[in-house]
């Protein structure tokens, strides 16, 4: 694992390396170099299998984190490539030419996070939601409870105990 990261370092800049466990590491790379590094990993280093592509919303830093989790089926190691992009007008270079399933992931990210992937096939088509008018639902500033209460006629008289508070009251009243 270490030698692979060293080899990437000779060509590209990596800002942060986290070794989560022996066969899984995460590296943080810049937005401009990301697709180039992923292509290098796929073609030269044997990370032929894309496990997943997903995003996380770090609203306090005003950033989206994109994670490309790559897998090397012969060496049996995983490498997560993290890219931080700005939350304003979030947009990322498309990787649909590398794996066939990436276009689907990007369609989902566009819909659920509002991250744009220009030139990705069918990226603007709705994937999961139909007729959605609010902000993309996986963003942190979207309040799903509030939306549900406003839209779906909550049944009056439903007593919902927050388990944490309820258990505290019952089991640890003095804590």
């Amino acid at each position: 694992m270490k030698d692979i990261i060293d080899r990437i370092k000779t060509k590209y800049t990596i800002s942060e390396v986290v070794e989560q466990r022996k066969n899984l590491s995460f590296v943080t790379v810049s937005k401009e170099q990301a697709i180039s590094i992923i292509t290098f990993l796929r073609d030269i280093e044997g990370f032929k299998h894309l496990v997943l592509l997903t995003a996380a919303d770090w609203i306090e830093n005003d950033k989206f984190q994109l994670t490309y989790l790559l897998n090397n089926p012969t060496e049996k190691i995983d490498l997560g490539v993290r890219v931080f992009i700005s939350r304003e007008n979030a947009s990322m270079e498309s990787a649909h030419h590398l794996w066939e399933q990436v276009a689907t992931y990007q369609r989902e990210l566009k819909e659920m996070f509002g991250i744009d992937f220009p030139d990705s096939p069918g990226v603007d088509k709705p994937f999961i939601l139909e007729g959605w008018e609010d902000i993309p639902p996986y963003r942190r500033d979207f309040d799903t409870k509030q939306y549900s209460e406003d839209t779906y006629f909550p049944r009056p008289g439903r007593e919902s105990n927050d388990p944490a508070e309820y258990m505290k009251k019952k089991l640890y009243p003095n804590e």
Binding site: N23, E100, P163
Partner: protein, 396 residues
Amino acid sequence: MNKKRFTINEDRSLFPEKNAEGKIDIDLSSHKYLKLWQGPQHPGITGNMSLELTVLGDEVMDCETHVGYLHRGFEKLMERRKYIQCFPIVCRVAVPEPDFNEYCFASAMEELAGIEVPEMAQWLRTLVLEMSRLQSYLMWIGGQSGAFGSGIIGQWSIYLRDLVLDRFEELTGGRVYHMYQLPGGVRGLLPDGFKQRMEETLLTIEKFMDDIDKVMFNNAVFKKRSVGMGYIDPSWVNKFGITGPNARAAGIPLDVRKDYPYLKYPELDFDVVVGKDSDIYTRADIRRKDLLLSVDLIRQIFAKMPEKGDIKAKTPNVLHWKVPKGETYSRAECTRGEYGYYMVSDGTEYPRRINVRGPSYTHAVALLEKMIINTNIADVAGLMVSLHTYPPEIER
């Protein structure tokens, strides 16, 4: 007797020319093509998913997969629940195999929190995962034969699945959703006499599997419709991210149980089942052998597991459990392929982000859309079931 085998599409002159990109320019107003929707309704095997087919005659020319009918927004719901509150909802992501969700969620959390699961709990988890695999395959086998017109296998296999669900009910209290694998361990030990009753169930399953072998796998109709149908090229495996039995049928021995050993699988003795023809028949055969392998593994687990032991590691108070900052990915081999949870923690009591990686994500959209071209409408259902797609893991 005419020895030449009849093939549907021998004369291609009636069919449209392909353009430079290798695709067909479909002009719906030319009255040659017809839009046909398959789904979203279903009789209980495949999950709600619809295929928008463009057909010429009875041949599929173009296909688009539509998902989202079962979207509940789990990944959002988990962000506003504490870790322990996520535990009862993760199993609802995939109905046929809830236990893989529980295991992946628990193991990702344990890895981040640095908790070592006791030995006995690991054995019980292995047992529950194998039982879950068994019942899911039994469900699938009914769907596969039903898609090719033989309903009787479904009648038998759903009955067998009910027997496995009875054992689940004894062990965990739930028939379909078990909520058994708590973060840090499991909820309970085996009940008295469980091993013996499980053995009886396994014997019944083996007996019925002999019958299913005769009625389904040696059936001329099933063979004729499935052999050579739905070919997956081995070179597609990495290109499309194919895992599980679909990849193994193409001759690529991908099995998370062997490649990234988890729980007690390193101590169990088994070989990865690999096929080579990569058609619907081979995939069905791989799954049948995998099912029998599960039966064998359950027996091995019973022989090797200790009688008693700790079933739960010491964990912090779950109400104030702050999982340290970090991110990880945990995976398990489910019946369709690699199941994984990607978990990001920001050091608070709530998970920052959890992403569920279901194997159907690649199988049902990109791969199916490619494979379905130029098949007959009647074979679409069989092809879809042979990939063992399950839409809730696509949309969560």
